[in-house]
Point group: T
């Protein structure tokens, strides 16, 4: 049972449709450059408003991944 | 580049369907009396339960808008 | 089952006698101008001291009320 | 107007689809053994990632119910 | 000097009269089913308003008790 | 010794020069419509960046004032 | 308009009767050795339970006083 | 890939020797009555002092376990 | 490499001019009676308003110093 | 209206002169290696003291920038 | 059953070996000048690094003691 | 007296033996790729449980290092 070390990135995803899509978008982007993504934790949900409508949902999250040896 | 002043309102939206709809409902109501809505920040997600089912999602948020000069 | 929208005010009540009276005083004042008060949440309890005695209890609370359609 | 006493449970629901489903799943499970569920409060939103995709949304919540006399 | 283990329950007491009575009511109810209550910690003070008056004070607390061996 | 009730507004001031100016700007704007401003509490300090320079300091604060009888 | 400096002490008062008495007891004790007490802020409300009854309310507070020049 | 539901208990372990032993003691006690313990989260580290020495380390933690179907 | 013990004081400095001056004023006052001041941490920024102007900035901070052996 | 993804860095800037200069110094350094800096959020203000004077203001902030596609 | 008043000190202990030793060191130092130490609460765990090794663990704690009558 | 800029990484170390080893493991791993590590701050202590025993302690920390010019 090996002792792993993980690193956490903090990202903000944005989406015109909702919270889940903003998270998914950020994780998809992170996966392009980081391997071994393991978990995420949502820390903030907010958004921008234009002409009385929600323009973008903005969800900030921490993303943990295993550091390669 | 003008220095704006913004005011924040705190609202709780409720919805039988989910979180996004509760936020949208509150912002739609706020837009009836306040102009220049710019952003929102979700601070609390809760809800009521009736007969073992979620009756209403209740989402509390702050809403920022530009104060007219 | 209608979807309501609620607004939260933040008030500080003060009282020479105690916490409950400070809350009651603030709600009584709020009820003069706002209808449909539904709930309150205490966020801060403090006070002023004069000549080694508590001069005023100061209790800060949020007060929620239904926005009229 | 009777004085009720409520108990709060803390649960984590998980779902492959999203936040609302994770909450609903946990409340459905709680209703099997606890009666008089009244409200819930979301305290944490996180999830697991497998092969660059969200495997499970994990939503932690407190659930309040009336204690029988 | 034995090493004890304690369990914490989370309860919300309600009272038409004030904060102390809401706490006392919840502890009285807890004592019906749990022995060895040792301490409590207030985590939230709020209440409901009906017709511009406080209907119920609602005080949420954690209650610690010794687990029997 | 009268029991006062205070109301708190939440404002965000912005300034190209610094934190104190952002606060002063917001209070100057608030004083146009509210009398009896008594105190402020800074809750958030952030800002926008354009072309590698701070464009605006944005300071969020609560402002307390005495409610007229 | 002189620039004062204040010091804050942290105290826990206890009382068999309630929250206000625990605060008052701590401030009375503090006034024996510190002059110029100006304000207090409650940071924690808890208590001990003996034989299913509240033995002592324990209220922790910060107390501010003017430092003599 | 099944959607699990987890329940969290809150426990305080105590130990004359240190933090890890206080956690281990609480988990050992919990395992007597609860199956499927999965994780723990430390939320508070404190202790009692007698005759100028630490008498007991007291560590409060949440413990998560899978609810049986 | 000796193991030091540090004590933290909590102070509120006030200034008519700004945040930095309020901190400096409090530290200057503290240095009159305490030696070996090592660091400070700002925990609260607020102020008083008189006639629509900031009367005093009030900055609360913790100040750490080495305890003499 | 494209859905952006942002990354947040956490930096501590230091300055002998004040808070704004500590923030500016950190952002200037960040701009050497990161493009598209968009916003910052101050999370901690502290400093070191030498010979009873502030040696360095130390301001910790998060800095957000757009991730290139 | 007497109503006690307690005072809380805030201390940071440091140790080259670990968390428990940092706490013990601070309490040993406090016991030289304060009698009736009753409890402690850990609020922060950090440390310094030199040449890629932990130089000192630094643990900040509050320490409560009974005020003599 | 130069104005440094520091960057903070967030890491989670894991260990089968205890908290200090989890921190040490994460710092050892970080030192392989980052120079000038200066300090760390523990933000979360948790762990996994397998067959009623602690499998891994998981300690999340921020680690600060000097940015090279």
């Amino acid at each position: 049972m090996k002792d792993h070390v993980y690193k956490l990135l903090e990202l903000t995803g944005s989406s015109t449709t909702g919270i889940e899509d903003a998270v998914t978008g950020a994780l998809t982007r992170a996966a392009k450059t980081v391997h071994n993504l393991k978990w995420f934790e949502v820390s903030d949900i907010r958004g921008t408003i234009e002409k009385d409508k929600i323009a973008h949902w903005q969800v900030t999250m921490k993303v943990g991944f295993t550091l390669d040896e």
